[in-house]
């Protein structure tokens, strides 16, 4: 048995010995390597091995279950015994909660986990030099695109290899390995005394799944160059096209809105809207924990329940919330296998691979179909209120006149109510892109307020 498995089992036994009626434990071990090259120089090389163990102790009483979480990076027997006892003592100080506790059943069979292509063992051989080389190639490619690319924040290559063990007192003990790799470039373009930075990133479970360093550098440079000469526009109401990168942020917000926790707390304007139309008919949004090679894929969730596909929005209707066991009990549903868990945090809910189904039009066709409007390529700030749906964020992008890109814009905001944005989606592109755990094609919202001069 691995060290990690035995540490997890020792944690459970210690918690039970200290008086817990039930417990679970998560152990995470990771090796990581991160490098940055800027110009021709190495900026930094960073390496680490980390291990962390978290325990949740559950103490059943007459009116419900009390719980607490403790964690440590010291996996010695003495330390594990101490934090297990501490978790039980801490739990005893909290209130009884009828909804708290482990899932009753439905655990995945840990001996027959789905093969999800979460890593390639051969990638462990890629060392510091290979990472520096990839970053350097991306950096050179970016600078070679145009003489106006004069500087950069650097190009980064990183890899991490993790092993995750989850065990609970209901008898579940599962483990899996997962890797992730990323390569990014952040060049700066300069002209007429002003500077613009942009970036591009590729991320995958295996090195073979990454875009080439040259493609990353080139794409990043092209994005920075097209921002040169950006200006404000006069305040107006126009259609707004989100490119796949910025559109993904809309679905990230939906993931927060449909989290069972936001629903039972009443901190989501989508609470109580199950089965109702919340978006235009063309919107099909699915969370798929089993997507092969997906950055959010895992063979079981943070409570040991099987990974699955959940349709969140089906033809514009809110089809499902995302639930773990606790929030399912609170809203009166069943877990959707959406539990997240880390060594130092309580179980929660998170999307895994959340993707919007693509439409048939290319981004160019959507632009050609827009007489006057905005193509958003960057959003900044956190101007979103999930309780009311009020949305107002800083933006930069490209202005559209007569169905064609006219000039770059910056120092503007885009604002609307998010509920109206979802129902106002009137075009979805064919250009589905997965750069993170959220995938999206371009999306056009019929009308938003653009504030500028």
């Amino acid at each position: 048995m691995s060290d990690l498995r035995s540490a997890a089992q020792q944690a459970l036994a210690s918690a039970r010995a200290a008086g817990a009626s039930a417990a679970d434990a998560v152990v995470v071990e990771s090796d990581s390597l991160e490098t940055r090259v800027r110009g021709e120089e190495i900026d930094f090389v960073k390496q680490a091995r980390e291990r962390k163990l978290g325990i949740r102790a559950l103490v059943r009483g007459a009116g419900g279950t009390r719980s607490a979480i403790t964690s440590t990076s010291d996996l010695s027997e003495t330390a594990v015994r101490a934090i297990a006892a501490e978790a039980v003592a801490l739990a005893r100080a909290t209130a009884e909660d009828p909804a708290a506790g482990l899932p009753e059943d439905g655990f995945v069979d840990p001996d027959v986990l789905p093969e999800l292509a979460l890593g390639d063992a051969a990638d462990r051989g890629a060392g510091v030099e290979a990472h520096i080389d990839a970053a350097r190639r991306a950096e050179r490619a970016a600078r070679a695109v145009d003489p106006r690319i004069t500087n950069s924040e650097g190009s980064e290559a990183s890899s991490s290899f993790s092993r995750i063990v989850y065990a609970n007192s209901a008898g579940f003990l599962g483990e899996y390995d997962a890797a992730s790799h990323a390569l990014s470039a952040s060049p700066i373009a300069r002209a007429n005394g002003s500077m613009q930075r942009d970036y591009w990133i590729t991320a995958a479970r295996s090195l073979a799944g990454l875009e080439s360093p040259e493609a990353v550098g080139r794409r990043a440079a092209e994005r920075a160059l097209r921002r040169l000469g950006a200006r404000k526009v006069a305040t107006c109401d126009v259609p707004v096209i989100f490119d796949p990168l910025t559109a993904a942020s809309l679905w990230r917000q939906v993931a927060g809105l449909v989290s069972g926790y936001a629903v039972y707390r009443g901190t989501s304007f989508l609470a109580g809207k199950l089965g109702l139309r919340i978006a235009s008919d063309a919107v099909q949004l699915v969370d798929d924990a089993c997507r092969p090679g997906g950055l959010g894929s895992r063979p079981f969730d943070g409570e040991g329940l099987p990974s699955r596909q959940t349709a969140v929005i089906e033809r514009g209707r809110l089809a499902s919330y995302l639930l773990d066991t606790y929030s399912a009990r609170k809203v009166g549903g069943r877990s959707t296998g959406s539990a997240t868990r880390s060594a130092s945090s309580a179980p929660g809910v998170g999307a895994t691979n959340l993707g919007l189904a693509p439409g048939s039009a290319s981004q160019d066709e959507i632009i050609a179909d827009t007489r006057r409007g905005l193509l958003v390529t960057e959003l900044i700030g956190m101007g979103f209120n999930p309780v009311t749906g009020d949305y107002s964020r800083g933006a930069a992008g490209l202005w559209i006149e007569n169905g064609a890109i006219a000039f770059p814009v910056e120092e503007i905001t885009i604002a609307a109510n998010f509920a109206d944005m979802l129902t106002g989606i009137d075009a979805i592109g064919s250009d589905l892109l997965w750069l993170s755990r959220v995938g999206s094609p371009s999306v056009r919202v019929a009308r938003m307020t653009v504030a500028g001069g």
């Binding site: 900026d43 403790t70 604002a415 307020t449």
Partner: protein, 477 residues
């Protein structure tokens, strides 16, 4: 006061010989500087919702980071095991950044002089029994619900942290710092008919848990959260476009943090990627505008006795009467720019490389009566509270989002407005400051700054300020 380093020596069985050996290993090739950073952090929190504390948590984190610098290169390795073996492995990994087989020089590890303590506590906040923390958030819940029948939900949390750090550098630097940090958050939801609105307030600082128990303090916090939520029930859509904005005192100082502060960090200026690069000595703000970063304020959330490279924190004048005077520096960027470190080398934890970061950043008070400033505006908005903000260092564009704002009409405060994002250009926004209030306030101690994936606690402050022509991102043309 304990001798510097004694906590770590005792806990991990380290002595001068072993620490010196680890530094020597890091210095076995030609490197300019090497340091060791030890950390031991305890953190606990309790969260109340639906009237009960459903769960508590407590975390212990310990580790060591070893860094080697050669020119502008840095090698870094960290481990969560604090042992002689782990230290040696990390030191060998970090020094690999240097290809040159020569040897770096090392000064003897000096026993540091007793330092000032900006945040002494009688008892670490993480040593206080959890029952007391639970009682406090329960009292907050009862008090909030008693304020108004429209308050339908209360969420309250109390987070306590106690962090010990030890820095040992190849130039003989040795500094230990023990940093308490407490924080109280209150969020309420008010409902009238189908309309729901949220109100939020938080407070905290580098102090003991006891500082949160003062009833006037936590009740004031709840009163503010309740008032904001009820006010938002009446809020109208915010106008869109360029207009005069008056910022209230205190937390709106986030403007300085985003518009100016990040752009003055030494790394961006050394790399010449900031919109402020090469502009020392130039006018970047209106006459009368003086902005400082001060890590030496007793008990403040952003304060530090020494930064995470062992440099004592200081008060740094960034902008003096409108003229750009200084950047914020860590050791690496100060050395490369030929400037002095300013005590702003900070890192989230042992698992991160230090970078130049802000501490408490604020504008000094001016001469104007705040009421006169409001009266001077014919049409505009008055923004008194904010959520988060963000900046694009290179283009200089920044945003920050109002969570409490009002219309100003004919010099009087009018209807409350729904939150909206304000956007501007860092290098010129302060040139359009036309009135500076006499009422400087610092925030209540809730700021967290994110940069390059690292979060650190910070403070901000501002007097009432009038800015002409800022773009307001509402929905009403």
């Amino acid at each position: 006061m304990t001798l510097p380093g004694s906590f770590f020596r005792d806990r991990f069985g380290l002595d001068d010989q072993r620490l010196g050996d680890a530094l020597d290993t890091a210095l076995e090739r030609r490197v300019d500087y090497a340091d060791l950073f030890f950390e031991y952090t305890a953190q606990d929190s309790v969260v109340l919702e639906e009237g009960i504390v459903k769960s508590g948590d407590r975390h212990l984190e310990q580790g060591v980071g070893v860094r080697a610098q050669v020119g502008e290169r840095q090698g870094y390795a960290h481990a969560d095991e604090v042992s002689v073996e782990a230290l040696q492995i990390a030191a060998r990994t970090a020094r690999a950044i240097s290809a040159d087989p020569g040897a770096g020089g090392r000064a003897a590890v000096a026993t540091g002089a007793a330092q000032r303590d900006l945040y002494p506590v009688a008892r670490p906040p993480t040593d206080v029994d959890v029952a007391q923390k639970i009682s406090l958030v329960e009292a907050i819940d009862r008090y909030a619900r008693s304020r108004d029948p429209r308050i339908v939900e209360v969420m309250a949390s109390c987070v306590c942290q106690h962090r010990s750090v030890l820095v040992i550098g190849s130039d003989g630097t040795q500094a230990e710092d023990i940093r308490p940090l407490v924080r109280l958050n209150v969020q309420v939801i008010a409902q009238r008919g189908a309309r729901r609105e949220v109100g939020y307030q938080g407070c905290g600082g580098r102090s003991g848990f006891e500082s949160l128990l003062e009833p006037a303090r936590w009740q004031g916090l709840v009163d503010e959260a309740v008032r904001t939520a009820l006010l938002n029930l009446e809020a109208e859509p915010c106008p869109a476009g360029s207009m005069t904005v008056v910022l209230g005192p205190g937390w709106p100082g986030i403007l300085l943090h985003e518009a100016i502060g990040h752009g003055l960090e030494g790394d961006f200026n050394r790399k010449e990627t900031s919109a402020f690069s090469g502009r020392l000595g130039e006018r970047v703000a209106a006459p009368g505008v003086t902005v400082v970063d001060d890590g030496t304020l007793p008990g403040r959330r952003g304060s530090l006795n020494v930064d995470d490279e062992g440099t004592p924190s200081q008060r740094t004048v960034l902008i003096e009467d409108g003229i750009l005077r200084c950047y914020l520096q860590d050791r690496l960027n100060a050395r490369l720019l030929g400037m002095a470190p300013t005590g702003n080398g900070r890192r989230e934890s042992y698992a991160h490389l230090p970078m130049p970061r802000m501490t408490n950043t604020f504008m000094l008070a001016g001469q104007d009566d705040p009421a006169d400033i409001l009266r001077s505006v014919d049409r505009g908005i008055y923004a008194v509270n904010f959520g988060g903000g963000q900046v694009d260092i290179t283009s200089g564009k920044f945003v920050f989002s109002a969570s409490e704002a009002y219309r100003i009409e004919g010099g009087r405060i009018g209807a409350p407005l729904k939150g909206a994002t304000l956007i501007g250009n860092g290098p010129d926004v302060l040139l359009r400051v036309s009135r500076i209030g006499s009422d400087l306030e610092l925030d209540r101690g809730v700021g967290t700054c994110g940069k390059d994936g690292q979060s650190v606690p910070v403070g901000v402050g501002l007097p009432t300020l009038r800015i002409d022509d800022l773009t307001v991102g509402g929905t009403e043309g």
